[in-house]
Assembly symmetry: C2
Homo-oligomer: 398 residues x 2
Amino acid sequence: MQWIAGGVTAARGFTASGLSAGIKVSRRPDVALVAADRPVTAAAVFTTNRVQAAPVHLSRARLQQGRARAVLLNSGCANCMTGAAGLRDARTLSRAVAKSLRSPEEQILVASTGLIGTRLPVRRVLAAVPELVRQLSRARHLEAATAILTTDRLPKEAAVEATVGGRTIRLGGMAKGAGMIAPCMATMLCVLTTDAAMPAGLLREVLREASAQTFNRLSIDGDMSTNDTVFGLASGRAGVTITAGERARLFGRMALEVTRKLALAMAQDGEGVTRVAEIRVSGARTDSEAQRCARQVATSSLVKTMLAGGDPNVGRLAAAAGASGAGFDPDRLEIRIGTRRVVKRGTVVRLQPKLARRLLARRRVRIELDLHAGRGSGWMLTTDLTEAYVRINARYVT
Amino acid sequence: MQWIAGGVTAARGFTASGLSAGIKVSRRPDVALVAADRPVTAAAVFTTNRVQAAPVHLSRARLQQGRARAVLLNSGCANCMTGAAGLRDARTLSRAVAKSLRSPEEQILVASTGLIGTRLPVRRVLAAVPELVRQLSRARHLEAATAILTTDRLPKEAAVEATVGGRTIRLGGMAKGAGMIAPCMATMLCVLTTDAAMPAGLLREVLREASAQTFNRLSIDGDMSTNDTVFGLASGRAGVTITAGERARLFGRMALEVTRKLALAMAQDGEGVTRVAEIRVSGARTDSEAQRCARQVATSSLVKTMLAGGDPNVGRLAAAAGASGAGFDPDRLEIRIGTRRVVKRGTVVRLQPKLARRLLARRRVRIELDLHAGRGSGWMLTTDLTEAYVRINARYVT
């Protein structure tokens, strides 16, 4: 398996485009299209939030058939809490794309990200659809990746290829940030494409597992937004069919590599983020308790501000672990920052202030908690909470 | 029932003092003593964190007998994660207080707040104990309330009196802030005193219920710290004994009034806080789901930064509710800010920007979510998340 260029069009059988339709006042790119040359296998995982945006409802319904021709994405407006009118808007836009592509309307998927509660400027987007379709090209993956950004600073792309039975299969994709990472429940969106062939059920399972191991391990205010969506499209153009066994495991690893890279890019590109921390918990009674503990540490405002300041107040780590509900004997707790042990048998290790400050001085740090209560383990990726984050999120509407 | 002055010494039979022992580098007051004239009924509720400070362990053990003579409190050091040495330190200090008061050591309770992982400067505190005891007076309640502060700006006191069977009973207390409100798991500490007489079991039950309704409704990073403690001391000097029935209900209401005032003072005095919001959830399937929903909204960083900016991005409220796990139909969700409906049947109500900004312009706001799924209700008190909060918490150790 190796990294290749090309993002969402790295796999054969896909084209993409992105431009400004005028949804964003800034006139930055805000609509993207990812299209397959013909109808392909399709699947997705969606937010588990009770409140779900119109495009989530529409795409979920359409994916029951497991086939799709294209995905229309927009930034600048989440099309969420917009009632029946919002659903009509999403349908209207997908119909225009279907017409331009000469495809059944049911094969067009949609996704939106941006402010909740505002309507899409449908006419403006409709006016942009013909140009969006005209510009579709394998070369325009970066334009598409750029058009789905909200407050992200950089487009996020990744792609890999591997050899199966003498043939090369590819998997690539694009994404934008989420939650704490990007603001205003601005949504995590991701589109993955592959030229391997596989049943929609398997594709969905791979998306689910890769998301659980990567996107869902990012600290995003504790929960999924109203629009989070990860789409997968499989063209089959590589001439390799994946159903189970060794091939399915390899494909799962490919998806994991791509989504891991995209998730890390989201964390690093988070609003006001200066530091990314990996929180590893071991020695819990169960994996589930370990994960709960890692999540509590990763989402603690006190831990996140500690990361911002770079000053290792290790009591905050222990207090968050103790509040997580995970069972452990506090007198056996061990904590490491990087390779340095900072809590030993429940007692804080005194360090020289100069040495202490060096522990969190890097842009990526690793914090390990060993609960010494069993063999369960878990981990989360988190970011620091800075004044810049507050500044950006305190003013987002007006 | 009416408000009176006097804080933790408003009830007869109690004295207090507070001074600087040199735990804080700033030389601000950092040790407080609350003493009863003779051994009195005592109870407490403690943090449910797995990681608990040495004074929590010591006080819990001593309260098994339900009697106490005094409470020694310090700020500037949490005496937590300090191992066996920390427990020895707490014992040593309590022994010195016991000796000065000519009381059995087992009747001295202790509480600490401040940085986790540092040892108490025992010699300095020991040197201050005789003066602390000498200064004990009914007049020095404010000195005691001041000496337990960490980053709080103002001391927090409250007291009420009521008439029972022709006699006056009093209940008063002092407190300091907690969690998101005060930093670094800096602990919520509270000491309540009354001159009514009652069994320790009833006193504990009243403390538990009042805390559940007030302190535990404050958004404090999601969980209790390692040191949180609410002490109750009952001198019986009013000549009124409370065991059950109408008297117990009146006393419960008195405790609720006092703790409610202290909790609100904590919220308003929180680090960097400019706005306090009451989050009310109704129409949930159960009270427990309503409370979960209120907690999710109250602890959301996106809601808290929205409060800081004063810009009502109501999608953040709905998204937090939807992520809470409470069951409801998003198409029936209603949200009000103050008296203004901002979400109607799941759809955001469009408001003039000028009017929208006025909704969150006050220092205290009320946000109501009606899930229209049942009769369950719940509420939380939360504060805004400002740049000042991050600034304070990013640098707390050095």
